[in-house]
Each structure stands twice: as structure tokens, then as C-alpha cells.
Homo-oligomer: 225 residues x 2
Amino acid sequence: MNENEQRIFDSWKINAKSWTRVIHHQQIESRAIATDAAIIKAVKELNPQTFLDVGCGEGWLCRQLFSPGIDGWGVDACADLIEAARLYNDSRFIVCSYSDLRSQKFENILRFSCLICNFSILGQRDLTQIAEAGCHLLEDHGKIIIQTLHPLIACGDAPYEDGWRETSWTGIGNEVFHPAPWYFRTIESWIQEFYGYNYRLLNLQEPCHPITKKPISIIFVFERC
Amino acid sequence: MNENEQRIFDSWKINAKSWTRVIHHQQIESRAIATDAAIIKAVKELNPQTFLDVGCGEGWLCRQLFSPGIDGWGVDACADLIEAARLYNDSRFIVCSYSDLRSQKFENILRFSCLICNFSILGQRDLTQIAEAGCHLLEDHGKIIIQTLHPLIACGDAPYEDGWRETSWTGIGNEVFHPAPWYFRTIESWIQEFYGYNYRLLNLQEPCHPITKKPISIIFVFERC
């Protein structure tokens, strides 16, 4: 891990409890009004038999997909988040870093229909590790579904080019968050990097804020060639 | 043609001479500093044997591609622009509307390596007509290369959703332009519409302004499946 990646890892350890509360109480407006529903819809449209939620956090998305009977697993590098995820009497959650993903075993599932990364590709090398893991963990024509901040919106006043940025966690519930860096990518880069690992774009969606009508996130669906 | 499409057609008739002067004198800053070079690069990267420049205007891009020996044709619905294009002693320019493209014959070329649409998909049905024409005019795995305003930038304060918009032609050279409507599409729509006609995205580029470092246009390269 480089310094920024270590800072991301450490921040989740510090933020795990606050994050779990914020997600439980649906205190992130963009998630409540748009992006939660958007990722569920994007996954269900693919009609997957199995999924792996990469960076599952406290597990809300897994539970949403387990509920109608889609089988899968959640993984997260943060042990405290996985502990929170397991509180709901489902054991399909594993502590696993992205770099260990390709060799991780999942009891009953050898290959997944899809990997899901819902706002969970934060570091620079996460993308590489997940794209490579997909080659081992995805069935033929398996999909990687990524939701992330819409680059044009997330860019703010900074140059529109790849690079490390600092988070602003202000204004989420009443919780205090320890800040962490994240790696910004342009739309061009998201697509080109996955193409470089032999995926192709199957679908791109731009969920919008229902009131402002501006994009709030972007969803890429890549297929393994 | 519906009313908006008729207005676009009529505006080019009125604007043809002003437009020709503006292009000659490189008076559109974004073209001079970024987008002209970007489209030439995008085409040359594909190493095409032949091209069809759809909505070629006064022909500058064709001449740029003829010059290193790439064979091709330029078509435009506006007769005055094609007349201007032919002033340079090259006859490979034809007056042809997008709706007539699929049945248009080109003396020496039966199928093209690529169609190029450089800021020339303005109306709503242009996309459909060009996508369908591609099925007749492109060789197997032929490409459609589109450069257009970057939707997130072009959107301005309006809702980020498909629909007709009014142009603002202000500030281009010292010329007066007759305004015309154009049809706005989100990035999601550009991709989904071409996918609906059995193309796939091969490449997406976001040329940036060299000073502000903000996207100035977007280039889609679609391949015929």
C-alpha cells in the first residue's frame, strides 16, 4: 500500500461506526433519493444468479439483493464494517482486501455473475485489483457494475484529469468523519482502463437528482470479453 | 422534416457564407486550440483506408485527411457549403441529406472504413439516419466517429435530459449568425442509442481546454457489430 491507500484504509477503521449509523438512518441524501435505487436497478436488470459486492461496507446492498433470493457475498477490507454486516444473522460477509480478492474462496460459489462496486473504488490501484480479480472470479461474460460520483460533478474547480483528491465529508448526518484521499478519474479513464483489462462497456447510466435534474452519479456496466 | 429540423436546414442556408469565413480564419477558439486536432487524431488512430465526412461543411476536415492520402468523401445537406468545399479543386464533395445517405453512391468507394460526424449531429433524427446509413456504407467492423459538445458542459443550467435547445451563436468572429435549435443528448443517451442500432463503444475521449483544463468536447468511437 502506498501512503494514500494506507490513509484510506485507516480512515475506514476510524469511520466504521459513524458510517454504519449514517447508512442505517439513510442520512446521505443522494443515496436516499437516487443512487441506492439506481444500483439495485442496474444489478437486477442483469438478472444475475450470483453477485460479489466488493467494498460492501455494512452490507445494506447485499441484504437488498439477498432478500429476493439472489445469492452472493459481500467483502470489505474493514473488519469493523464486516462485523456490522454480520449482525443481521447472515454469514455471507468476509474481510478481504482488494489485493487478496483474486485468491479468496467463497464456500458455495466458484464464479460470480457480477461484481458490484458501489462507491467503493476509492484508491488508484483498486481498479486494477478488481479488474484482475474479475478474470478469476467472474463467469464467462460476467459483469462488473460500478457506481461512482459523476466525474464532471465531482471534479469541482480542479482540472479535469486523473489524480488524488481530498474528501470533504462535511454535512453527513451528525457524525464526524476522519477525512481520506480518493483517486479521481475522468469518464475517458474509467472506460479506457477497463478496456485495457479486456472488458467492454455494456451500459452507462447517469442517475439524476430528482429535483435539480443534474447527474448525481454514474454507473458503468463492463462485460468480460 | 419536422419544424426544428427545417429550422436547422434553413439556418445553414443563411449562415453558409459566414460559417465558411469563420472556419477559414480559425475564429472559433475551441476548434483552434483543441477540437480540430482532437478529431484528426481520433480518425488517424484508427488508420482508416477510407472515410465519409458526414456534415462536412466547407470541407476543412476532408482536406486535412486527403492531404496524407486517406481517400474519402464529404457530404453536406447545404449546397452552399458544398460549393465552398469544391473551390479547392477537389470534387469529392456531394450535396446529400442525412436521410438520403443510405442510398447515396460514391464513385470509387462502396464501403467506408469510417463515418465521421464532427459537430454535425444537430437534429434528433440525424443520429438514427447516420446509424442506419452506417449499416449500408460501412465495411465490417467499420467505425462511426462523433465529436460533439461535452453534454455536461453544454447542458448549462437546464435539466440534464434529452431535448431540443436553442443555440447561442454569440461571440464567433465578427459574423452574425441566424440561430437554430439543436437536440441535446446525455452521455447515457448517445451510447444507448448507438447500442440500439447494434454498434458498440470502442473508445470515448474528452478533449480538454489547454488552459482551463475542463472538457471542451466529447468524442465517441462506435464500431459496427
